[in-house]
Symmetry: C2
Subunit: 147 residues, 2 copies
């Protein structure tokens, strides 16, 4: 299965935007992420629908963060992306007639639901500001190491 890396991508993009003065174009972000401008627009468009970023066309246009970094959690970003499926493992059929399969599905579903709940809980605890701070810490550490 090919993994959905959009959450990772938008986080990278958002932190980049946070460090940057003024709006950033899809072109600039795509170069940064090593992808394509249209992919950036497609993904960032979902964040715009959620009100997390804003975009402007034309000269001096591009993408800007529309909210306070401290008020945006990874959970909100996950939701903005359409709550994509978390697991690469799943049941063969969702609503089987076979009682054996029903018993199997029930057991697996419970375990998956608990794990997903924990994941989303952790996501809800992490804000963009936390990540920005972590980045600043790493940045300082690298500078110290070099000099």
């Amino acid at each position: 299965m090919k993994r959905d890396s959009r959450l990772s991508s938008v986080l990278h993009a958002l932190l980049h935007m946070a460090e940057h003065d003024g709006p950033m174009t899809s072109e600039a972000l795509s170069k940064c992420l090593g992808t394509n401008p249209v992919v950036v627009r497609r993904t960032m468009g979902l964040l715009r629908e959620a009100g997390l970023v804003a975009s402007d066309r034309g000269h001096a246009g591009g993408w800007r963060i529309a909210v306070d970094l401290a008020n945006v959690t990874l959970r909100q970003l996950h939701d903005a992306l359409g709550e994509p499926a978390v697991f690469a493992i799943g049941n063969r059929h969702e609503t089987p007639d076979c009682l054996v399969e029903q018993a199997v599905n029930a057991a697996l579903d419970t375990a998956f639901a608990e794990a997903e709940a924990l994941l989303l809980e952790r996501f809800a605890e992490i804000t963009l500001a936390d990540l920005a701070a972590d980045f600043a810490r790493r940045h300082a550490a690298r500078r110290a190491q070099r000099g």
Copy 2:
């Protein structure tokens, strides 16, 4: 992403085998699972390597369970299948140079690791005997419902 449904499949197969006297052929299991005999062999072969099932060729051959149902957990089955990736979501690059991406990855990896640990913990708590009992319960319930 296409989900890996092998765990669900082998559970279905194993419970079926548990209810059945004597070995079951790949052909019979594949009809039950709605798949192909070769897929069954391929998947069950992994369980055989882990010592959970045994296979015999020729007349009256097929697959049999090689261990006590109460001693096999979902975790063991997951491991036998090669510990496939649990998540459909992941980082863009695993070991990026960019410090922003490193900060992002670190945060996501921690959350994913915790969720995976919980999932595997739950898997380790559930035995095939538990599932067989749950099946029996559902079976009785259906019979009661029917009169």
